[in-house]
């Protein structure tokens, strides 16, 4: 791999109680690229994604082995607030707060200490522009976020994540609750955002992974139902010339 990496996992294993959800994952997340994590349901895609910003911390009985590095430092010893500022997240279902469009995007900057009205307004405008939503909402910033359509809400959630200027954006099946047109808009947006951000996306949709991602990681459960990294590499190689037969079987739709 020739690209610079921003995050990497080294022999990373994740346990929920006695259940081993992820088994010794080692992979690099290249900077300013879109990395897709694919695999059948229950293979640990989301668990892996949520390890990057330590959202699994909320689950009791959770334990890890190995390490995940961001800019060379272990995320587990990092301050979780700083980590999540650097590593933003967009969820499967659009989850705007029951607040106005403006307050949704201003939420992050506000909790990180920005009080100045003009500065906030500038950040909000820039973030919504970057999320390709500005033209649709610029006159309605005071309206509740719930007045937006599902696709718009998801782009608002992306704008909300952008507002704290993260380095990495994690997306957990960001388009699975959206219709094809809204999905396309999200994909175009991801393409645009990767010049400034590193994106890691979990997806069920292999066509989507093939369309948008530069690198793909394929996860599969072993006999103990633990998620293993089967293959990781440039998307184009993986989809045209997979090295592992299991990858080939999965992407050609033979199972999963």
């Amino acid at each position: 791999m020739t690209d610079k990496t921003v995050m990497k996992t080294i022999n990373y294993s994740l346990f929920y109680g006695s259940f081993k959800a992820l088994c010794s994952i080692t992979m690099d997340i290249p900077v300013n690229r879109i990395t897709a994590i694919i695999g059948p349901s229950g293979c640990g895609k989301s668990s892996l994604l949520r390890s990057f910003n330590r959202m699994n911390d909320l689950i009791s009985g959770m334990r890890t082995e190995g390490s995940i590095l961001i800019d060379g430092k272990d995320v587990c010893s990092a301050d979780v607030v700083e980590l999540r500022k650097k590593v933003g997240m967009v969820f499967q279902r659009p989850n705007p707060f029951p607040k106005s469009i403006f307050d949704n995007v201003a939420y992050g900057p506000r909790i990180h200490g920005i009080r100045d009205k003009y500065k906030l307004a500038a950040i909000v405008e820039q973030s919504i522009r970057d999320a390709a939503l500005w033209d649709e909402v610029k006159d309605d910033l005071g309206k509740s976020a719930f007045t937006l359509s599902g696709g718009q809400q998801q782009r608002l959630c992306i704008a909300r994540a952008l507002a704290v200027e993260p380095e990495v954006i994690l997306m957990d099946e960001p388009a699975s609750a959206l219709d094809p047109v809204a999905t396309l808009k999200i994909e175009e947006l991801m393409e645009k955002l990767k010049s400034r951000y590193t994106i890691v996306v979990v997806t069920h949709n292999m066509k989507q992974a093939a369309r948008v991602s530069d690198y793909t990681a394929f996860l599969l459960t072993d006999l103990e139902r633990s998620g293993n990294l089967i293959e990781f590499g440039p998307t184009i190689d993986m989809f045209t010339n997979p090295t592992d037969t299991r990858t080939e079987d999965y992407i050609s739709g033979r199972f999963g």
Binding site: S60, K99, Y107, I111, R160, A161
Partner: protein, 281 residues
């Protein structure tokens, strides 16, 4: 086939009857109290204090003041305690690792459920033993408010818990993923979403304070003078109804006071509805 149709219409008629009877009884009670009561209500009734005596002369001014004073004081104590406990039980209790604290939480949950079903006079006796005599607060607004706090806290805790549980977890996740702390998340995202439910619990408690008698009989005394401080005794409207009905010949005035109470409760219910509608938009 005919038999099934018959069963169907029989069931419907039975439900209609049950519903109709319930409404009829309700209207009869409220109608009786309001019609009989309103006949004796005039401006003087609101503006003069009771003068005591067997004939139950005077109005209800001091009892209105005592009721509002007691309601305010009780909610002043009960709201922060109840809402705080509710927040702890829903948002924090499960993340505390210590075995000892977890045991305490189980006991607290059980306690809240039990307390919600304890008759109010039992809280009254407790209040009498602790606040009135042991702590020498005497028959006073303070004693009554503290006993009343014990009475309504389970209501506030439970409505707060329900309201917090109804807040989708995705809001919490979204906030935490932005780098917000747990308290920031609760204060800025969870509580604003739950405020409707929480305020409903508080208004319900206010209604409870207005309508309870037994508990205040043994903690507030029954003096019909206007309370001037936390340490003075008094008589709420509900208590006044009891005194008028049982110890005077002024049954009409008891009905009139009852009518005012009913109107007050109706207003409180309207407040719940408007506040929750106003807060949820």
């Amino acid at each position: 086939m005919i038999f099934r149709k018959f069963k169907q219409s029989f069931a419907f008629s039975a439900m209609w009857l049950a519903c109709g009877l319930t409404v009829a009884i309700l209207l009869a009670v409220i109608g009786y109290v309001i019609i009989r009561g309103f006949a004796h209500i005039n401006m003087d009734f609101f503006l003069t204090a009771p003068r005591g005596g067997l004939s139950g002369e005077g109005g209800i001014s001091s009892t209105i003041i005592a009721t509002l004073y007691l309601m305010g004081t009780t909610l002043f104590f009960a709201t922060p305690l109840g809402v705080g406990a509710g927040i702890f039980l829903v948002e924090y209790a499960d993340s505390v690792r210590s075995r000892f604290v977890q045991k305490l939480v189980v006991i607290a949950r059980f306690g809240v459920e039990t307390l919600a079903g304890v008759p109010s006079i039992v809280f009254g006796l407790f209040g009498y033993a602790l606040f009135v005599t042991t702590l020498h607060f005497g028959f006073s607004i303070l004693s009554a408010a503290l006993a009343g706090t014990c009475l309504v806290i389970p209501v506030i805790i439970r409505t707060t818990e329900e309201a917090l549980k109804a807040v989708p977890n995705s809001y919490r996740e979204a906030s935490l993923a932005m780098g917000a702390g747990k308290w920031e998340t609760i204060w800025k995202v969870v509580l604003p979403s739950a405020i409707t439910g929480i305020s409903t619990g508080i208004v319900l408690s206010a209604g409870r304070i207005v309508s309870e008698t037994a508990i205040f009989y043994v903690t507030l005394g029954g003096s019909y003078r206007t309370p001037t401080s936390l340490m003075s005794g008094g008589r709420t409207m509900a208590l006044h109804v009891y005194y008028l009905a049982m110890e005077t010949r002024a049954f009409d005035k008891a009905l009139a006071t009852g009518a005012v109470l009913v109107v007050l409760i109706i207003i409180l219910n309207l407040v719940i509805n408007t506040v929750s509608r106003w807060l949820s938009t």
